[in-house]
Protein backbone atom coordinates (compact mmCIF):
# COMPACT_ATOMS: atom_id res chain seq x y z
CA UNK A 1 0.00 0.00 0.00
CA UNK A 2 2.94 2.30 0.67
CA UNK A 3 3.82 2.17 -2.98
CA UNK A 4 0.33 3.23 -3.95
CA UNK A 5 0.22 6.20 -1.54
CA UNK A 6 3.49 7.58 -2.76
CA UNK A 7 2.54 7.09 -6.41
CA UNK A 8 -1.10 8.24 -6.39
CA UNK A 9 -0.28 11.04 -8.83
CA UNK A 10 1.25 8.63 -11.30
CA UNK A 11 -1.71 6.23 -11.10
CA UNK A 12 -4.19 9.11 -11.54
CA UNK A 13 -2.29 10.42 -14.54
CA UNK A 14 -2.05 6.99 -16.15
CA UNK A 15 -5.77 6.53 -15.61
CA UNK A 16 -6.46 9.70 -17.58
CA UNK A 17 -4.04 8.63 -20.31
CA UNK A 18 -5.73 5.24 -20.39
CA UNK A 19 -9.12 6.92 -20.75
CA UNK A 20 -7.81 9.09 -23.57
CA UNK A 21 -6.74 5.92 -25.41
CA UNK A 22 -9.87 3.81 -24.75
CA UNK A 23 -12.77 6.24 -25.05
CA UNK A 24 -12.00 7.42 -28.61
CA UNK A 25 -11.47 3.80 -29.68
CA UNK A 26 -14.77 2.74 -28.11
CA UNK A 27 -16.70 5.57 -29.73
CA UNK A 28 -15.03 5.07 -33.11
CA UNK A 29 -15.66 1.34 -33.17
CA UNK A 30 -19.32 1.96 -32.30
CA UNK A 31 -19.76 4.64 -34.96
CA UNK A 32 -18.09 2.49 -37.63
CA UNK A 33 -19.86 -0.75 -36.67
CA UNK A 34 -23.37 0.66 -36.82
CA UNK A 35 -23.40 1.23 -40.60
CA UNK A 36 -21.57 -2.08 -41.23
CA UNK A 37 -24.08 -3.90 -39.03
CA UNK A 38 -26.94 -2.17 -40.81
CA UNK A 39 -25.57 -3.23 -44.21
CA UNK A 40 -25.21 -6.82 -43.00
CA UNK A 41 -28.77 -6.68 -41.74
CA UNK A 42 -30.22 -5.01 -44.82
CA UNK A 43 -28.41 -6.99 -47.51
CA UNK A 44 -28.42 -10.63 -46.55
CA UNK A 45 -25.83 -11.61 -49.13
CA UNK A 46 -23.28 -9.26 -47.59
CA UNK A 47 -23.83 -10.56 -44.09
CA UNK A 48 -21.49 -13.55 -44.17
CA UNK A 49 -18.64 -11.67 -45.83
CA UNK A 50 -18.86 -8.52 -43.70
CA UNK A 51 -19.24 -10.29 -40.38
CA UNK A 52 -16.53 -12.85 -41.10
CA UNK A 53 -14.05 -10.21 -42.28
CA UNK A 54 -14.67 -7.99 -39.27
CA UNK A 55 -14.58 -10.96 -36.93
CA UNK A 56 -11.26 -12.09 -38.40
CA UNK A 57 -9.69 -8.81 -37.26
CA UNK A 58 -9.80 -10.23 -33.77
CA UNK A 59 -7.62 -13.14 -34.82
CA UNK A 60 -4.68 -10.83 -35.53
CA UNK A 61 -2.32 -10.95 -32.51
CA UNK A 62 -2.33 -7.53 -30.85
CA UNK A 63 1.42 -7.00 -30.83
CA UNK A 64 1.62 -7.93 -34.48
CA UNK A 65 -1.11 -5.42 -35.32
CA UNK A 66 0.57 -2.65 -33.32
CA UNK A 67 3.77 -3.24 -35.27
CA UNK A 68 2.08 -3.71 -38.65
CA UNK A 69 -0.01 -0.51 -38.53
CA UNK A 70 2.68 2.23 -38.59
CA UNK A 71 3.96 1.41 -42.11
CA UNK A 72 0.36 1.59 -43.37
CA UNK A 73 -0.71 4.72 -41.48
CA UNK A 74 2.64 6.50 -41.57
CA UNK A 75 2.48 7.00 -37.80
CA UNK A 76 5.25 6.28 -35.36
CA UNK A 77 5.05 2.99 -33.48
CA UNK A 78 4.77 4.85 -30.19
CA UNK A 79 2.08 7.25 -31.33
CA UNK A 80 -1.03 6.93 -29.16
CA UNK A 81 -3.06 7.33 -32.37
CA UNK A 82 -1.52 4.12 -33.65
CA UNK A 83 -2.86 2.34 -30.58
CA UNK A 84 -6.27 3.99 -30.89
CA UNK A 85 -6.57 2.71 -34.47
CA UNK A 86 -5.63 -0.82 -33.41
CA UNK A 87 -8.09 -0.74 -30.53
CA UNK A 88 -10.79 0.55 -32.86
CA UNK A 89 -10.22 -2.38 -35.22
CA UNK A 90 -10.54 -4.85 -32.34
CA UNK A 91 -13.60 -2.98 -31.11
CA UNK A 92 -15.23 -3.33 -34.52
CA UNK A 93 -14.48 -7.05 -34.48
CA UNK A 94 -16.22 -7.37 -31.13
CA UNK A 95 -19.33 -5.28 -31.81
CA UNK A 96 -20.13 -5.67 -35.51
CA UNK A 97 -22.07 -8.92 -35.18
CA UNK A 98 -24.07 -7.53 -32.28
CA UNK A 99 -24.72 -4.47 -34.38
CA UNK A 100 -26.20 -6.61 -37.18
CA UNK A 101 -28.23 -8.55 -34.60
CA UNK A 102 -29.43 -5.25 -33.13
CA UNK A 103 -31.03 -4.25 -36.42
CA UNK A 104 -32.41 -7.77 -36.85
CA UNK A 105 -34.07 -7.38 -33.45
CA UNK A 106 -36.31 -4.56 -34.67
CA UNK A 107 -39.70 -6.13 -35.32
CA UNK A 108 -40.60 -6.23 -39.01
CA UNK A 109 -44.14 -5.16 -38.09
CA UNK A 110 -42.86 -1.94 -36.58
CA UNK A 111 -40.67 -1.23 -39.59
CA UNK A 112 -43.62 -1.89 -41.92
CA UNK A 113 -45.91 0.30 -39.91
CA UNK A 114 -43.37 3.14 -39.95
CA UNK A 115 -43.16 2.82 -43.72
CA UNK A 116 -46.94 2.68 -44.03
CA UNK A 117 -47.48 5.95 -42.19
CA UNK A 118 -44.96 7.74 -44.38
CA UNK A 119 -41.44 7.51 -42.98
CA UNK A 120 -38.81 7.92 -45.69
CA UNK A 121 -35.97 5.38 -45.67
CA UNK A 122 -33.57 7.84 -44.03
CA UNK A 123 -36.13 9.10 -41.52
CA UNK A 124 -36.98 5.54 -40.60
CA UNK A 125 -33.33 4.69 -39.92
CA UNK A 126 -32.77 7.61 -37.54
CA UNK A 127 -36.25 7.75 -36.05
CA UNK A 128 -37.18 4.09 -35.77
CA UNK A 129 -34.51 1.50 -36.55
CA UNK A 130 -31.56 3.03 -34.74
CA UNK A 131 -33.40 3.81 -31.49
CA UNK A 132 -35.09 0.41 -31.48
CA UNK A 133 -31.74 -1.29 -32.08
CA UNK A 134 -30.46 0.70 -29.09
CA UNK A 135 -30.81 -1.86 -26.30
CA UNK A 136 -28.93 -4.58 -28.22
CA UNK A 137 -26.34 -2.06 -29.44
CA UNK A 138 -25.80 -1.02 -25.85
CA UNK A 139 -25.11 -4.58 -24.79
CA UNK A 140 -22.48 -4.74 -27.56
CA UNK A 141 -20.91 -1.47 -26.46
CA UNK A 142 -20.60 -2.78 -22.92
CA UNK A 143 -18.52 -5.71 -24.16
CA UNK A 144 -16.36 -3.36 -26.27
CA UNK A 145 -15.78 -1.10 -23.26
CA UNK A 146 -14.43 -3.90 -21.12
CA UNK A 147 -12.36 -5.49 -23.87
CA UNK A 148 -10.89 -2.17 -25.05
CA UNK A 149 -9.92 -0.98 -21.59
CA UNK A 150 -8.19 -4.27 -20.94
CA UNK A 151 -6.53 -4.48 -24.36
CA UNK A 152 -5.18 -0.92 -24.16
CA UNK A 153 -2.75 -2.08 -21.46
CA UNK A 154 -0.83 -4.09 -24.08
CA UNK A 155 0.29 -0.79 -25.58
CA UNK A 156 2.75 -0.46 -22.70
CA UNK A 157 4.82 -3.22 -24.27
CA UNK A 158 5.50 -1.11 -27.38
CA UNK A 159 6.00 2.03 -25.29
CA UNK A 160 2.60 3.75 -25.37
CA UNK A 161 1.95 4.65 -21.73
CA UNK A 162 -1.26 3.50 -20.07
CA UNK A 163 -2.24 1.68 -16.90
CA UNK A 164 -0.39 -1.22 -18.55
CA UNK A 165 2.85 0.66 -17.83
CA UNK A 166 2.29 -0.28 -14.21
CA UNK A 167 2.52 -3.97 -15.16
CA UNK A 168 5.65 -3.60 -17.29
CA UNK A 169 7.37 -1.30 -14.86
CA UNK A 170 6.36 -3.33 -11.82
CA UNK A 171 7.51 -6.52 -13.52
CA UNK A 172 10.88 -5.11 -14.54
CA UNK A 173 11.56 -3.62 -11.12
CA UNK A 174 9.97 -6.42 -9.13
CA UNK A 175 7.37 -4.21 -7.39
CA UNK A 176 4.37 -6.44 -6.82
CA UNK A 177 2.21 -3.66 -5.41
CA UNK A 178 2.59 -1.77 -8.67
CA UNK A 179 1.41 -4.76 -10.72
CA UNK A 180 -1.60 -5.28 -8.46
CA UNK A 181 -2.42 -1.57 -8.60
CA UNK A 182 -2.33 -1.74 -12.39
CA UNK A 183 -4.75 -4.65 -12.49
CA UNK A 184 -7.16 -3.13 -9.98
CA UNK A 185 -7.04 0.30 -11.63
CA UNK A 186 -7.81 -1.25 -15.04
CA UNK A 187 -10.79 -3.13 -13.65
CA UNK A 188 -12.08 -0.04 -11.83
CA UNK A 189 -11.81 2.00 -15.02
CA UNK A 190 -13.65 -0.65 -17.03
CA UNK A 191 -16.43 -0.85 -14.45
CA UNK A 192 -16.75 2.94 -14.30
CA UNK A 193 -17.09 3.22 -18.08
CA UNK A 194 -19.53 0.31 -18.14
CA UNK A 195 -21.63 2.00 -15.49
CA UNK A 196 -21.50 5.29 -17.41
CA UNK A 197 -22.69 3.54 -20.58
CA UNK A 198 -25.63 1.98 -18.73
CA UNK A 199 -26.51 5.41 -17.36
CA UNK A 200 -26.38 6.99 -20.81
CA UNK A 201 -28.49 4.10 -22.10
CA UNK A 202 -31.16 4.80 -19.48
CA UNK A 203 -31.24 8.44 -20.48
CA UNK A 204 -31.41 7.73 -24.21
CA UNK A 205 -33.64 4.65 -24.07
CA UNK A 206 -36.12 5.40 -21.27
CA UNK A 207 -38.76 3.20 -22.90
CA UNK A 208 -36.69 0.01 -22.85
CA UNK A 209 -36.63 -0.36 -19.10
CA UNK A 210 -39.75 -1.57 -17.33
CA UNK A 211 -39.47 0.91 -14.49
CA UNK A 212 -41.15 0.88 -11.12
CA UNK A 213 -43.56 3.51 -12.37
CA UNK A 214 -44.43 1.32 -15.36
CA UNK A 215 -45.26 -1.55 -13.04
CA UNK A 216 -47.47 0.74 -11.00
CA UNK A 217 -49.17 1.79 -14.19
CA UNK A 218 -49.86 -1.75 -15.24
CA UNK A 219 -51.50 -2.41 -11.86
CA UNK A 220 -53.61 0.69 -12.38
CA UNK A 221 -54.49 -0.62 -15.81
CA UNK A 222 -55.74 -3.92 -14.46
CA UNK A 223 -57.89 -1.99 -12.00
CA UNK A 224 -59.28 0.16 -14.77
CA UNK A 225 -60.10 -2.85 -16.89
CA UNK A 226 -61.86 -4.41 -13.93
CA UNK A 227 -63.83 -1.24 -13.39
CA UNK A 228 -64.77 -1.04 -17.06
Amino acid sequence: MNWLWSNLDLVGELMLVHLALSVPAIILSFVISVPIGWLAHRYRWSRGVLLSLCGLLYAIPSLALFVALPPITGLSLRSPLNLVIALTLYGIAVIVRTSADAFDSVEPDIRQSATAVGYSAVGRFWGVELPLAGPVLLSGVRVVIVSTVSLATVGAVIGVPSLGSLFTDGFQRGIQAEIVTGIVATIVLALALDWASVLIGRLLLPWSRPSASARRLSVARVERVDAA
Binding site: D109, I110, A116, V117, G118, V128, W207, S208
Partner: protein, 270 residues
Protein backbone atom coordinates in the same frame (compact mmCIF):
# COMPACT_ATOMS: atom_id res chain seq x y z
CA UNK B 1 -63.03 7.16 -54.64
CA UNK B 2 -60.61 4.31 -54.98
CA UNK B 3 -60.66 2.29 -58.16
CA UNK B 4 -58.84 -0.92 -59.08
CA UNK B 5 -58.60 -1.56 -62.80
CA UNK B 6 -57.59 -5.05 -63.91
CA UNK B 7 -55.04 -5.18 -61.10
CA UNK B 8 -52.70 -8.16 -60.88
CA UNK B 9 -49.88 -8.85 -58.47
CA UNK B 10 -47.47 -11.65 -59.14
CA UNK B 11 -44.56 -12.00 -56.73
CA UNK B 12 -41.05 -12.76 -58.06
CA UNK B 13 -41.37 -16.38 -56.93
CA UNK B 14 -44.35 -16.81 -59.25
CA UNK B 15 -47.20 -16.80 -56.73
CA UNK B 16 -50.15 -14.78 -57.87
CA UNK B 17 -51.50 -12.82 -54.91
CA UNK B 18 -54.09 -10.82 -56.80
CA UNK B 19 -55.50 -11.67 -60.21
CA UNK B 20 -57.27 -9.31 -62.56
CA UNK B 21 -59.20 -7.40 -59.92
CA UNK B 22 -61.71 -4.67 -60.70
CA UNK B 23 -63.33 -2.87 -57.78
CA UNK B 24 -64.70 0.56 -57.11
CA UNK B 25 -64.64 1.69 -53.51
CA UNK B 26 -67.13 4.52 -53.16
CA UNK B 27 -66.15 7.67 -51.22
CA UNK B 28 -67.24 8.16 -47.60
CA UNK B 29 -68.25 4.51 -47.37
CA UNK B 30 -66.65 1.51 -45.74
CA UNK B 31 -65.46 -1.24 -48.05
CA UNK B 32 -64.50 -4.45 -46.29
CA UNK B 33 -62.19 -6.94 -47.98
CA UNK B 34 -62.86 -10.33 -46.47
CA UNK B 35 -61.36 -13.74 -47.17
CA UNK B 36 -59.18 -16.41 -45.65
CA UNK B 37 -55.41 -16.07 -45.52
CA UNK B 38 -53.85 -16.27 -48.96
CA UNK B 39 -56.79 -14.57 -50.64
CA UNK B 40 -54.74 -11.45 -51.37
CA UNK B 41 -56.90 -9.06 -49.34
CA UNK B 42 -53.97 -7.44 -47.52
CA UNK B 43 -51.98 -7.21 -50.74
CA UNK B 44 -54.92 -5.41 -52.30
CA UNK B 45 -55.09 -2.96 -49.38
CA UNK B 46 -51.37 -2.28 -49.53
CA UNK B 47 -51.54 -1.38 -53.19
CA UNK B 48 -53.58 1.68 -52.26
CA UNK B 49 -50.67 3.34 -50.42
CA UNK B 50 -47.98 1.70 -52.57
CA UNK B 51 -46.66 -0.60 -49.88
CA UNK B 52 -47.06 -3.07 -52.75
CA UNK B 53 -46.94 -2.12 -56.41
CA UNK B 54 -49.12 -4.08 -58.85
CA UNK B 55 -47.47 -5.98 -61.68
CA UNK B 56 -50.43 -5.26 -63.92
CA UNK B 57 -53.31 -2.80 -64.06
CA UNK B 58 -53.88 0.45 -62.24
CA UNK B 59 -54.95 1.68 -58.83
CA UNK B 60 -56.57 5.10 -58.96
CA UNK B 61 -57.46 7.51 -56.17
CA UNK B 62 -59.94 10.14 -57.37
CA UNK B 63 -58.92 9.34 -60.92
CA UNK B 64 -55.16 9.67 -60.29
CA UNK B 65 -52.95 6.64 -60.78
CA UNK B 66 -51.07 6.09 -57.50
CA UNK B 67 -48.07 4.82 -59.49
CA UNK B 68 -47.45 8.42 -60.60
CA UNK B 69 -47.20 9.64 -56.99
CA UNK B 70 -44.26 9.64 -54.63
CA UNK B 71 -44.87 6.75 -52.23
CA UNK B 72 -43.73 8.59 -49.10
CA UNK B 73 -45.89 11.65 -49.78
CA UNK B 74 -48.81 9.42 -50.77
CA UNK B 75 -48.61 7.46 -47.50
CA UNK B 76 -48.47 10.63 -45.41
CA UNK B 77 -51.87 11.55 -46.81
CA UNK B 78 -53.55 8.21 -46.12
CA UNK B 79 -54.43 6.93 -42.66
CA UNK B 80 -53.13 3.45 -41.85
CA UNK B 81 -54.13 1.24 -38.94
CA UNK B 82 -52.71 -2.25 -38.57
CA UNK B 83 -52.97 -5.31 -36.40
CA UNK B 84 -51.09 -5.06 -33.08
CA UNK B 85 -51.45 -1.30 -33.47
CA UNK B 86 -48.00 -0.94 -35.14
CA UNK B 87 -47.20 1.83 -32.67
CA UNK B 88 -43.58 2.84 -32.23
CA UNK B 89 -42.66 1.31 -28.86
CA UNK B 90 -39.98 3.90 -28.11
CA UNK B 91 -42.28 6.88 -28.44
CA UNK B 92 -44.97 8.06 -26.07
CA UNK B 93 -48.63 7.84 -27.02
CA UNK B 94 -48.78 11.55 -27.84
CA UNK B 95 -45.70 11.31 -30.09
CA UNK B 96 -47.14 8.28 -31.84
CA UNK B 97 -50.37 10.12 -32.62
CA UNK B 98 -48.47 13.22 -33.75
CA UNK B 99 -46.00 11.19 -35.88
CA UNK B 100 -47.37 11.89 -39.33
CA UNK B 101 -48.22 15.60 -38.82
CA UNK B 102 -44.66 16.06 -37.53
CA UNK B 103 -43.29 14.23 -40.57
CA UNK B 104 -45.33 16.58 -42.71
CA UNK B 105 -43.75 19.57 -41.03
CA UNK B 106 -46.61 20.71 -38.80
CA UNK B 107 -45.34 22.64 -35.75
CA UNK B 108 -44.83 20.69 -32.55
CA UNK B 109 -47.24 22.70 -30.43
CA UNK B 110 -50.02 22.42 -32.99
CA UNK B 111 -49.38 18.72 -33.63
CA UNK B 112 -49.51 17.88 -29.91
CA UNK B 113 -52.63 19.96 -29.30
CA UNK B 114 -54.37 18.16 -32.17
CA UNK B 115 -53.09 14.79 -30.93
CA UNK B 116 -54.72 15.40 -27.54
CA UNK B 117 -58.02 16.18 -29.27
CA UNK B 118 -57.69 12.95 -31.23
CA UNK B 119 -57.33 11.00 -27.99
CA UNK B 120 -60.75 12.43 -27.05
CA UNK B 121 -62.11 11.48 -30.45
CA UNK B 122 -61.16 7.81 -30.06
CA UNK B 123 -62.37 7.72 -26.45
CA UNK B 124 -59.04 7.69 -24.62
CA UNK B 125 -58.23 9.66 -21.49
CA UNK B 126 -55.70 12.44 -22.06
CA UNK B 127 -53.73 11.24 -19.06
CA UNK B 128 -52.50 8.35 -21.24
CA UNK B 129 -50.63 10.76 -23.51
CA UNK B 130 -47.35 10.41 -21.62
CA UNK B 131 -47.35 6.62 -21.46
CA UNK B 132 -45.41 4.30 -23.69
CA UNK B 133 -47.49 1.91 -25.82
CA UNK B 134 -46.36 -1.12 -23.79
CA UNK B 135 -48.01 0.46 -20.75
CA UNK B 136 -51.44 0.32 -22.41
CA UNK B 137 -53.89 -2.53 -22.85
CA UNK B 138 -54.37 -4.07 -26.30
CA UNK B 139 -57.65 -2.24 -26.81
CA UNK B 140 -56.14 1.10 -25.79
CA UNK B 141 -53.19 0.56 -28.12
CA UNK B 142 -55.58 -0.10 -30.97
CA UNK B 143 -57.44 3.14 -30.21
CA UNK B 144 -54.13 5.00 -30.28
CA UNK B 145 -53.49 3.34 -33.64
CA UNK B 146 -56.81 4.68 -34.94
CA UNK B 147 -56.01 8.16 -33.56
CA UNK B 148 -52.68 8.06 -35.37
CA UNK B 149 -54.43 7.03 -38.57
CA UNK B 150 -56.75 10.03 -38.28
CA UNK B 151 -54.04 12.53 -37.38
CA UNK B 152 -53.68 14.19 -40.77
CA UNK B 153 -57.45 14.14 -41.33
CA UNK B 154 -57.02 11.87 -44.35
CA UNK B 155 -59.81 11.19 -46.80
CA UNK B 156 -58.82 7.55 -46.87
CA UNK B 157 -58.33 5.27 -43.89
CA UNK B 158 -56.77 1.85 -44.49
CA UNK B 159 -57.34 -0.71 -41.75
CA UNK B 160 -55.48 -4.01 -41.94
CA UNK B 161 -57.15 -6.46 -39.54
CA UNK B 162 -57.02 -3.76 -36.87
CA UNK B 163 -59.06 -5.66 -34.32
CA UNK B 164 -57.65 -9.12 -35.01
CA UNK B 165 -55.46 -9.34 -31.92
CA UNK B 166 -57.81 -8.14 -29.19
CA UNK B 167 -60.23 -10.25 -27.18
CA UNK B 168 -63.86 -10.57 -28.38
CA UNK B 169 -65.35 -8.16 -25.85
CA UNK B 170 -62.87 -5.40 -26.64
CA UNK B 171 -63.25 -6.16 -30.34
CA UNK B 172 -67.01 -5.63 -30.16
CA UNK B 173 -66.40 -2.36 -28.33
CA UNK B 174 -63.89 -1.17 -30.93
CA UNK B 175 -66.22 -2.13 -33.78
CA UNK B 176 -69.02 -0.01 -32.29
CA UNK B 177 -66.54 2.80 -31.78
CA UNK B 178 -65.50 2.62 -35.42
CA UNK B 179 -69.14 2.72 -36.55
CA UNK B 180 -69.68 5.80 -34.37
CA UNK B 181 -66.53 7.48 -35.71
CA UNK B 182 -67.39 6.66 -39.29
CA UNK B 183 -70.88 8.12 -38.74
CA UNK B 184 -69.23 11.37 -37.61
CA UNK B 185 -66.28 11.54 -39.98
CA UNK B 186 -67.44 9.82 -43.17
CA UNK B 187 -64.00 8.65 -44.33
CA UNK B 188 -63.42 6.34 -47.26
CA UNK B 189 -62.52 3.30 -45.20
CA UNK B 190 -60.94 0.15 -46.58
CA UNK B 191 -61.00 -2.56 -43.95
CA UNK B 192 -59.42 -6.00 -44.17
CA UNK B 193 -60.65 -8.89 -42.06
CA UNK B 194 -61.12 -12.65 -42.18
CA UNK B 195 -64.18 -12.42 -39.99
CA UNK B 196 -67.39 -12.38 -42.06
CA UNK B 197 -69.44 -11.15 -39.09
CA UNK B 198 -67.12 -8.17 -38.73
CA UNK B 199 -67.37 -7.56 -42.47
CA UNK B 200 -71.19 -7.55 -42.41
CA UNK B 201 -71.24 -5.33 -39.34
CA UNK B 202 -68.88 -2.65 -40.64
CA UNK B 203 -69.12 -2.80 -44.41
CA UNK B 204 -71.31 -0.72 -46.69
CA UNK B 205 -69.71 -2.79 -49.42
CA UNK B 206 -68.30 -6.23 -48.72
CA UNK B 207 -65.79 -7.76 -51.11
CA UNK B 208 -65.43 -11.50 -50.74
CA UNK B 209 -62.07 -12.80 -51.92
CA UNK B 210 -61.06 -16.37 -52.58
CA UNK B 211 -57.73 -18.14 -52.86
CA UNK B 212 -55.49 -16.81 -55.62
CA UNK B 213 -56.65 -13.24 -55.22
CA UNK B 214 -59.92 -13.33 -57.14
CA UNK B 215 -63.09 -11.54 -56.20
CA UNK B 216 -66.07 -13.81 -55.71
CA UNK B 217 -68.58 -11.09 -54.99
CA UNK B 218 -68.66 -7.40 -54.16
CA UNK B 219 -71.97 -6.11 -52.88
CA UNK B 220 -73.81 -4.88 -49.81
CA UNK B 221 -74.17 -7.40 -46.97
CA UNK B 222 -77.90 -7.74 -47.61
CA UNK B 223 -77.39 -8.46 -51.31
CA UNK B 224 -74.73 -11.02 -50.55
CA UNK B 225 -77.04 -12.82 -48.13
CA UNK B 226 -79.96 -12.59 -50.53
CA UNK B 227 -78.08 -13.61 -53.65
CA UNK B 228 -74.73 -15.25 -52.97
CA UNK B 229 -72.87 -15.23 -56.29
CA UNK B 230 -71.76 -18.84 -56.06
CA UNK B 231 -71.40 -21.81 -53.75
CA UNK B 232 -68.13 -20.48 -52.36
CA UNK B 233 -69.78 -17.28 -51.19
CA UNK B 234 -72.85 -19.09 -49.88
CA UNK B 235 -70.59 -21.38 -47.92
CA UNK B 236 -68.32 -18.57 -46.73
CA UNK B 237 -71.13 -16.42 -45.37
CA UNK B 238 -72.98 -19.46 -44.07
CA UNK B 239 -76.24 -18.32 -45.64
CA UNK B 240 -77.89 -21.69 -45.38
CA UNK B 241 -76.82 -22.83 -41.96
CA UNK B 242 -76.34 -21.92 -38.32
CA UNK B 243 -77.24 -18.51 -37.06
CA UNK B 244 -77.85 -16.96 -40.47
CA UNK B 245 -80.45 -19.48 -41.68
CA UNK B 246 -83.34 -17.88 -39.83
CA UNK B 247 -86.95 -18.83 -40.12
CA UNK B 248 -90.15 -17.75 -38.47
CA UNK B 249 -92.33 -19.81 -36.19
CA UNK B 250 -95.50 -18.67 -34.55
CA UNK B 251 -95.58 -18.76 -30.76
CA UNK B 252 -98.76 -17.63 -28.98
CA UNK B 253 -99.79 -15.50 -31.93
CA UNK B 254 -96.39 -13.74 -32.34
CA UNK B 255 -93.78 -14.37 -35.01
CA UNK B 256 -90.58 -15.58 -33.40
CA UNK B 257 -87.42 -15.81 -35.50
CA UNK B 258 -85.28 -18.89 -34.85
CA UNK B 259 -81.99 -20.05 -36.38
CA UNK B 260 -81.19 -23.36 -38.01
CA UNK B 261 -80.70 -25.03 -34.65
CA UNK B 262 -84.05 -23.77 -33.41
CA UNK B 263 -82.58 -21.18 -31.07
CA UNK B 264 -84.64 -18.01 -30.90
CA UNK B 265 -82.94 -14.95 -32.41
CA UNK B 266 -85.70 -12.39 -31.91
CA UNK B 267 -89.27 -11.39 -32.62
CA UNK B 268 -90.70 -10.01 -35.83
CA UNK B 269 -92.27 -6.68 -34.96
CA UNK B 270 -94.06 -5.89 -38.19
Amino acid sequence: MIEFRRVTKQFPDGTVAVEDVDIVMPPHKTTVLVGSSGSGKTTLLRMINRMVDPTGGQVLIDGMDVATQDPVQLRRGIGYVMQNSGLLPHRKVIDNVATVPLLRGVGKREAYAHALELLDTVGLDRSLADRYPSQLSGGQQQRVGVARGLAVDPNILLMDEPFGAVDPIVRAELQQELLRLQGELGKTVVFVTHDIDEAFLLGDQVVIMQQGGKISQAASPAEILAHPADDFVADFVGADRGKRALHVTEVDGRNVVVDADGRPAGVLTS
